[in-house]
C-alpha cells in the first residue's frame, strides 16, 4: 500500500467510524484525555485542536460556595453530539463526558468532588455541537470546608 492510498483510507475510516459507533465509551476511545492534568490538554486529547466558542446558550450552574460534593447542572439548547465537564483543581481535569443521543435533551445534573484550594475552582463545560462547532461555558465555585479530596 503506498502512502497516498493509506492516507485516503485512514481518512475514510476516520469519517465512517463516529457514525457507525452507536455506543461511545470515551474512556476506552480516548484514554489520554482522562490522565491530562490541565483543562486545555484534556480538551485537546478529547476533541483535538479545536476552537472553543463562548456561548450564552450553554448554562452551567453550581453554587458559589460549596461544602461537600458540588452539585453541577448543565443545560443547553444547542443540538449537541457530546458534552464534557472539566475542572482545574483536582489532579486530573476531566470529570465526565456524555454522549448525547439524537433528539436528546441536555439537562444533566450530577455531583462532583472538588479539592479545596486557595483559588476558587473553575468548572468548564465543552459542548460538541452537531454543526461541528465547539461551545464552552464556565462557572466558578469556592470550595469551603472539607470535601472528598481528589
Amino acid at each position: 500500500m503506498n502512502r497516498r492510498k493509506f492516507l485516503t483510507l485512514s481518512v475514510a475510516t476516520a469519517m465512517v467510524l463516529p457514525l457507525g459507533a452507536w455506543a461511545t465509551d470515551y474512556r476506552t476511545l480516548k484514554p489520554t484525555a482522562w490522565t491530562a492534568k490541565k483543562v486545555d490538554d484534556a480538551v485537546k486529547a478529547l476533541y483535538g485542536d479545536v476552537e472553543l466558542i463562548e456561548s450564552s446558550d450553554l448554562v452551567v450552574k453550581a453554587p458559589k460556595v460549596a461544602t461537600g460534593a458540588v452539585p453541577i447542572t448543565i443545560q443547553t439548547s444547542i443540538q449537541a453530539k457530546s458534552v464534557s465537564l472539566f475542572q482545574d483543581v483536582n489532579p486530573e481535569s476531566a470529570v465526565a463526558t456524555w454522549t448525547v443521543p439524537e433528539d436528546g435533551i441536555v439537562d444533566y445534573r450530577l455531583k462532583i468532588k472538588l479539592r479545596q484550594t486557595e483559588n476558587p475552582a473553575v468548572v468548564s463545560v465543552v459542548v460538541e455541537g452537531r454543526d461541528g462547532k465547539f461551545y464552552t461555558a464556565h462557572t466558578v465555585v469556592t470550595v469551603a470546608g472539607a470535601t472528598c479530596e481528589g
Binding site: 452507536w22 455506543a23 461511545t24 465509551d25 470515551y26 474512556r27 482522562w34 460534593a69 475542572q87 483536582n90 489532579p91 486530573e92 476531566a94 470529570v95 465526565a96 463526558t97 456524555w98 454522549t99 448525547v100 443521543p101 433528539d103 436528546g104 435533551i105 439537562d107 444533566y108 445534573r109 450530577l110 455531583k111 462532583i112 468532588k113 472538588l114 472528598c148 479530596e149 481528589g150
Partner: protein, 99 residues
C-alpha cells in the same frame, strides 16, 4: 453493593429520571491512603428498548453514591434499562418501568 435506585416519571412526553448508584467511587488518591485499589464507575448507559437515551463516561471525580438526573422524550409504561460498569470489571444491569 451493587444496587441502584431508579425513578422515572413521565410528564408531557418528557421523562424525568433520577438514578442513584451505590458505589464507593474510590479515587486513586483516596485508594492510596486507605491501601486499597481505586475503583470507580467508568461507564453508564440507559436505554429504552434499543434506543440509547443517556450515556456517560465519568472519571473518578463523581461523588460517592452518585446521583444522576436527566430528561428524555418517551412514553409511559416503557421499560428503562440502566447498565453501569466500574474499574474492577463489575457490570450491573437494572430496569424499571416508566411511571
Amino acid at each position: 453493593m451493587a444496587t441502584m435506585k431508579i425513578k422515572a416519571k413521565e410528564k408531557d412526553g418528557i421523562i424525568k429520571t433520577k438514578i442513584q448508584i451505590k458505589h464507593k467511587m474510590m479515587t486513586y488518591k483516596q485508594a492510596i491512603k486507605k491501601g486499597v485499589d481505586a475503583n470507580f464507575i467508568t461507564y453508564i448507559i440507559a436505554k429504552v428498548g434499543e434506543k440509547i437515551v443517556y450515556e456517560l463516561s465519568p472519571s473518578q471525580f463523581l461523588s460517592k453514591n452518585p446521583v444522576l438526573k436527566f430528561k428524555f422524550y418517551g412514553n409511559k409504561g416503557e421499560v428503562l434499562e440502566i447498565e453501569w460498569r466500574d474499574l474492577s470489571g463489575e457490570k450491573v444491569v437494572e430496569s424499571k418501568k416508566i411511571k
